[in-house]
């Protein structure tokens, strides 16, 4: 049996990598990928904890819902990014700064 700490550590690493992708990558799609990393990290946590929750199955159920929600969010997000690409001809968030103070 793999201890919880292992799972937690892997998920923490994945979370941080995702965070890095979100902040550092100059590409909107990479930001989405970063978000997916974080969601996956969370799902990993959930299933790892969910192993000890046989009564409610909350962990796994939450994980499944999270996957579905993430997928929907990605679909909408990608559609929006495509819209942006049509207007700006770029998906680099650095260059999409018409709205600012």
């Amino acid at each position: 049996m793999i201890s919880l700490t292992h799972f937690l550590f892997v998920s923490a690493c994945l979370f941080c990598i995702g965070l890095y992708a979100i902040i550092a990558k100059r590409n909107s799609i990479m930001i989405l990928i970063g978000i997916e990393f974080i969601i996956n990290a969370a799902i990993l946590n959930l299933v790892a904890f969910g192993r000890y929750d046989k009564i409610n199955y909350s962990g796994q159920i939450f994980a499944l819902f999270a996957i579905v929600l993430a997928a929907a969010a990605v679909a909408v997000g990608l559609a929006i990014i495509l819209n942006v690409y049509r207007k700006y001809k770029t998906i680099n968030p650095e260059n999409i700064t018409d709205l600012r103070d």
């Binding site: 690493c13 902040i23 990479m30 990928i33 299933v47 969910g50 997928a71 679909a75």
Partner: protein, 180 residues
């Protein structure tokens, strides 16, 4: 043995994830992302969540990743040129601020996990004691099905509406406005 395989999967996930974020070429990153997701599915199995792992592969690999590649191709006409580009700059230079931030997060979270290490929550120990934990012999799919239709019926139904709305919305969003 189990642990070794776990480490292998973990290394695969973290390694390819690191490559995903450090590669300069987005197309390559996308393909590496595929590996990350597979690796994650493997890890899920270690947590005895086989159904989740399968869903992961079906939804992510089958849906999300394909969507992303399509989107990427639609938004990047130089894709092929990009793929052929084997310049010396294979990796992108890390952005130090974000690196610092990520490492900072990693540090505090590791600190937290290590601190937590010996002291797992009461509910887990209680469940272990009572044997209320998922065993590899359990039929997860069966259990999940019952839970979805009873205890989690409401979110299950709500999410259908949600998916419909997201579908319509995504369709509308990505529809090109026809020239008048």
């Amino acid at each position: 043995m189990e642990l070794a395989i776990f480490y292998a999967f973990a290394a695969l996930v973290i390694g390819s994830a690191l490559l995903v974020v450090s590669l300069k070429n987005t197309a390559r990153s996308l393909f590496l992302f595929f590996i990350v997701l597979f690796g994650m599915a493997g890890l899920f199995i270690f947590a005895l969540a086989d159904f989740v792992a399968i869903t992961q592969i079906m939804v992510y690999v089958g849906g999300v990743l394909i969507l992303m590649i399509f989107a990427f191709m639609l938004s990047n006409k130089e894709l092929l040129a990009d793929l052929q580009n084997t310049s010396s700059k294979f990796l992108s230079i890390p952005n130090w601020q974000s690196l610092l931030l990520s490492i900072g997060f990693l540090a505090v979270m590791s600190y937290g996990i290590i601190e937590w290490h010996d002291n797992f929550p009461q509910w887990i120990t209680e469940n272990i004691r009572q044997g209320n934990i998922i065993k590899s012999s359990d039929n997860n799919i069966n259990q999940l099905g019952i839970k979805f239709m009873t205890q989690y019926l409401l979110p299950f139904e709500v999410i259908s509406i949600f998916l419909l709305a997201a579908l319509i919305g995504a369709a509308h969003l990505s529809r090109k406005e026809d020239p008048k």
